[in-house]
């Protein structure tokens, strides 16, 4: 019966009508995944109304086609710009972006798109094989296990995404605090919202991510007047997509392991793709004999997360189909479509409607292979973006960033949020404080706090900590911390021996100076303020932010004292007063950065008066012509293209509500 259903399902997908819908979904998914700030959920929301009256097979061909491939195309922004195309591609930045800077974008793409296809196929196969076995796995992971998995992911990202475990975890604590802004779900009491209606439901994630990652990179491109591949011709290493494909073969067992991690973690409801890429990255790091190149352009740092985040799509579909328990927001929308077209998750989809289940699985597999193949073919052209002038990337980049932020809630506060986190992200970048832990912690905070509360209530106190799977995860956390502390110690010893600056384990600079110290003290102040603010809330409401703020205060104090110790040692050994007080970057660059921030802030001001289309087009044209010194003809054509995007894509396809300007 299963074989017959599998065959019927395949035939249903290969009809002209279904395949056309699949192609359309794949095409749209590739486009949306590549643009920072959009993501698969936006695409699903756009397509959702069209599916209401469709045949189930057509509806799923369209939606799964899109859903399956956004985590393939999101690699483009991660590798080329250092901006996560979606929440699932943060870990890829750590090694993908350095590869692009070395001129090896094609190699990164070759590896990423190949393993994306493999991971997606693996996820589809496991989905089939696991259908009868899934329930015991899913119910074995209750709130305690899901909570500890989240802590594990935070530990990994804090330990691996920067040079310093302390800084990484301190920043993670800040991210956890940010997730508590707004209504506490269980009590309905809003916290830390500063009386603002905008913040009463929490910080929207898209402006935060785009601000932290995209703005600093675009500012750097604008100020330094460089290309993405910013190393000299001598330093660049030629590469092709075949190098990447060969890398995948060379690391085939790693690929298989990460596909397994992605699929089975993806099955666990609520965690989603944001965590699987970090777990996979952490696994690749810990299992490598030589992990010294991680964060500097190690291809394994691309292979691991890209395999896992595609494999997780198949995993997340399993509880959705079998139990009606969606693994993430994307599968929640797919579940909704299941219900609309009259299907019921559970026994029906495993018996009488098994052919539809198989059509979903076939769609997933075909879409992944299709997208991976197409992107491999186009990757050479995409990789050329690394060699064009940054001045041609910045305006379009900012257009997508600002409009992506606008999608959050359609208010100017989204742009204020974007700019505020843009400034924070830029400061963190130049001072060498890692940004990925902040984002992951912010995403996970919304999952961890209710889970913690549920654990304390449903399991009477802390007894849940001795559950078997919880204990295993705690052991992995301890191991991760041990590996990270040992790595930090080795690095410190090496520094003392060679008397040179620490090598970069990430793409951020990290020279100790007074600016570093000021930032550390700033964090200490913030955490202290939070701890005091917690006193005004009931205990159960202040528990989670209180714990994170206290932990953050301890960690940032340790970080501050480490920096102070380094500065004192440097001062004794060789540092002059001027060096002690030096800025973290050349003065001209700093002034250019400030000017550029003022320039992009003008987008907000002009929007108030004239509206978004006018302000963004004004920025694009003036940037190209005056800042970038681009010719008038190109400026005109470029601006017209931007207008088309604003009008047709954002205005008519996404139907956004534009800001009503004062001078309307």
């Amino acid at each position: 019966m299963a074989i017959e259903a599998a065959y019927t399902g395949l035939l249903q997908v290969l009809t002209w009508s279904s395949f056309s819908y699949l192609l359309y979904g794949v095409g749209l998914g590739m486009f949306i995944g590549a643009i920072p700030g959009l993501g698969g959920v936006v695409g699903l929301i756009i397509l959702l109304p069209f599916t209401y009256e469709m045949e189930p097979v057509h509806a799923f061909a369209l939606l799964i086609g899109l859903y399956a491939v956004t985590s393939t195309s999101d690699t483009i922004a991660s590798v080329m710009l250092g901006v996560p195309g979606t929440a699932a591609s943060q870990a890829t930045i750590l090694d993908g972006f350095p590869l692009a800077k070395k001129g090896q974008a094609q190699r990164a793409f070759g590896a990423a798109f190949t393993v994306s296809a493999i991971g997606g196929l693996f996820g589809a196969v496991v989905l089939v094989a696991s259908l009868p076995l899934a329930l015991p796995i899913i119910v074995a992971f209750g709130s305690p296990e899901l909570f500890m998995l989240g802590i594990l992911a935070l530990t990994m990202v804090g330990a691996l995404s920067g040079k310093s475990l302390t800084k990484g975890l301190a920043v993670a604590c800040f991210g956890l605090f940010l997730s508590t802004i707004g209504y506490d779900d269980s009590s309905g009491i809003p916290r830390f919202y500063l009386g603002s209606i905008y913040l009463i439901d929490g910080l929207p994630i898209i402006p935060v991510i785009l601000g932290l990652f995209a703005i600093p990179e675009l500012v750097t491109l604008a100020v330094k007047n460089t290309q993405i591949a910013d190393q000299s011709e001598n330093e660049k290493e030629a590469s092709s997509i075949w190098d990447g494909i060969r890398d995948v073969y060379h690391h085939r067992w790693l690929t298989l392991r990460c596909a397994t991690i992605g699929t089975y973690v993806g099955m666990l409801p609520g965690l989603g793709a944001a965590i699987v890429d970090w777990l996979a990255y952490g696994h690749a790091f810990q299992s490598a004999k030589d992990n010294s190149r991680f964060g500097l352009g190690d291809i394994r740092g691309v292979i691991a997360p890209e395999t896992a985040n595609n494999a997780s799509k198949g995993g997340a579909l399993l509880p959705t189909i079998v139990f009606g328990i969606p693994g993430n927001l994307g599968t929640s929308i797919l579940l909704s479509v299941l219900l609309i077209v009259g299907l019921r998750p559970g026994p029906d989809l495993l018996t009488t409607d098994l052919d539809i289940t198989f059509s979903i699985i076939w769609t997933l597999a075909i879409a992944n292979v299709l997208a991976g193949s197409l992107l491999l073919i186009w990757s050479k052209q995409v990789a050329k973006l690394a060699t064009i002038s940054g001045h041609l990337i910045v305006p379009a980049g900012l257009l997508f960033v600002f409009m992506g932020a606008w999608l959050a809630s359609g208010s100017l506060e989204d742009w204020f949020c974007l700019l505020a986190f843009g400034i924070l992200g830029y400061v963190m970048k130049i001072l060498g404080w890692p940004r990925p832990p902040l984002i992951l912690a912010y995403i996970l905070g919304g999952l961890l706090e209710p889970r913690l509360y549920i654990n304390m209530q449903a399991y009477d106190g802390f007894i849940w900590l001795v559950r078997p799977i919880v204990l295993i995860i705690i052991a992995v956390i301890c191991f991760t911390l041990f590996v990270s502390i040992r790595r930090d110690k080795r690095r410190q010893l090496k520094t003392l021996e060679t008397d040179s600056q620490p090598g970069t384990a990430d793409f951020e600079t990290g020279t100790a100076n007074i600016s570093q110290l000021i930032f550390a003290f700033f964090l200490c102040l913030i955490f202290s303020g939070i701890v005091f603010s917690c006193l005004e809330y009931p205990k159960s409401v202040s528990l989670f932010p209180g714990i994170t703020a206290t932990t953050g205060l301890i960690l940032s104090t340790i970080a501050a004292s480490n920096i102070l110790r380094s500065l004192k040692a440097n001062k004794q050994n060789y540092m002059t007063k001027a060096e002690f007080l030096s800025l973290p970057m050349p003065r001209e660059e700093l002034m250019s950065s400030l000017l550029f921030f003022a320039f992009i802030s003008s987008i907000v001001l002009i929007t108030l008066l004239l509206g978004q289309k006018a302000s963004i087009l004004f920025f694009v044209a003036t940037y190209l012509f005056f800042w970038g010194k681009i010719s008038f003809k190109i400026t005109l054509g470029y601006s017209f293209a931007c207008w088309l995007i604003l009008y047709f894509f954002y205005g008519h396809t996404l139907n956004i509500i534009w800001h009503t300007p004062y001078l309307n």
Partner: protein
């Protein structure tokens, strides 16, 4: 003679002007885009119904009218209602479908900046709730007759004031049963997963969730039972009968009376009566404050035509398991106004249930 001519002239003028004015009103929505805000997340039940309304109502509003759904989720619907009240033009071209969250306003919840009585109330719709319990409780719950023997039931819900949690907790309060309430499950599927993992023992669900997630799975497998369903409590203290559960599930009131041999009473009963009437109709179609009366009437008429549209009714029943059940126009306005006429005991009961120590 002259007077008569003038009267006729002015009469004709008034007729033409009236007709012109009427014509202008009738064409108000022609070729216009109407935004239908939904104060819940995309993909959820509210959005599905909103999409259905958007598809069907456009043709009843005007020629060439287009209705686009836009989600503004957050804070149990408060955020969307605030936006509708404070930041939306009163031109009738932006409406909102979603939860009215009257309780948030009734309890003076922090962050509430809307007043339902200021909004243009076009219609309010009902859904139905069921309380479901696991059979694998500490004392075993083979059938609902064993409910009164239970102690320290673990009840799951979204928050302190959400409908699902209230329809699971309030019956236990009225029955005098001890329980522990664990909020924080953000959606029905999460509650489903928690019950399957034996993390919780009781939950509330809408009738759609009952049919889609529980009836043919946990309930059919004997792992859970539907205890009772909830419908508006009538003046005589009985509950409205609803034909959704094949006659196998009693109302809460009939369960109470048959097991305890008396009618329910007390502070929590007063709270239950309010919740059963007003939380049962949590969905509504609203316009921002200040919309012109004629425009509002046009929208209301279009909505009423939509509800009677056979295509709409069929699609609604297919998606929601029951025909649309809405109060429209004045009936809806009266319903919302009555929501704030709660007894002191009932209000105290609600405050007790929804406060955080």
């Amino acid at each position: 003679m002259f007077g008569k001519k003038m009267s006729s002239f002015f009469g004709i003028l008034a007729f033409v002007a009236g007709g012109f004015f009427q014509q202008a009103n009738a064409e108000y929505f022609d070729d216009k885009n109407v935004t239908l805000l939904v104060n819940a997340g995309a993909g959820g039940g509210q959005t599905r119904v909103a999409a259905l309304i958007a598809d069907n109502m456009a043709k009843h509003l005007g020629t060439g009218t287009n209705i686009v759904v836009k989600n503004i989720p957050g804070a149990g619907g408060i955020k969307g209602l605030n936006v509708l009240s404070e930041a939306t033009k009163a031109d009738g071209l932006t409406l909102m479908f979603g939860t009215s969250n009257a309780m948030a306003q009734l309890l003076g919840q922090e962050g509430v900046r809307f007043d339902l009585s200021d909004l243009g109330i076009i219609g309010v719709g009902s859904i139905n709730y069921v309380t479901i319990a696991s059979t694998d409780t500490k004392k075993g719950l083979a059938d609902r007759s064993a409910l009164l023997k239970q102690e320290n039931l673990v009840i799951g819900g979204r928050s302190l004031s959400d409908g699902l949690g209230l329809f699971a907790r309030l019956p236990m309060e009225v029955l005098g049963l001890s329980y522990k309430y664990v909020p924080g499950y953000k959606s029905q599927p999460k509650l489903n997963a928690a019950m399957q993992a034996k993390e919780i023992e009781v939950l509330g669900t809408g009738h759609i969730g009952y049919a889609k997630f529980y009836k043919d799975t946990l309930i059919a497998e004997g792992k859970a039972i539907p205890l009772f369903y909830h419908s508006p409590v009538l003046e005589d203290g009985s509950q409205q009968k609803i034909d959704l559960y094949d006659g196998t599930v009693p109302t809460f009131v009939s369960f109470y009376e048959s097991t305890l041999g008396k009618a329910p009473s007390g502070q929590m009963w007063e709270a239950y009566k309010w919740v059963s009437r007003y939380q049962i109709r949590p969905q509504g179609l609203f316009a921002p404050p200040g919309v012109d009366g004629d425009v509002l009437r046009q929208i209301t008429a279009a909505f009423e035509k939509t509800l009677n549209d056979q295509g709409f009714k069929k699609a609604y029943a297919k998606r929601n398991g029951m025909e649309p059940n809405f109060f429209v126009g004045d009936e809806a306005k009266t319903f919302i106004a009555d929501a704030f006429k709660i007894s002191d005991a009932g209000l105290e009961g609600l405050k007790k249930l929804t406060s955080k120590k």
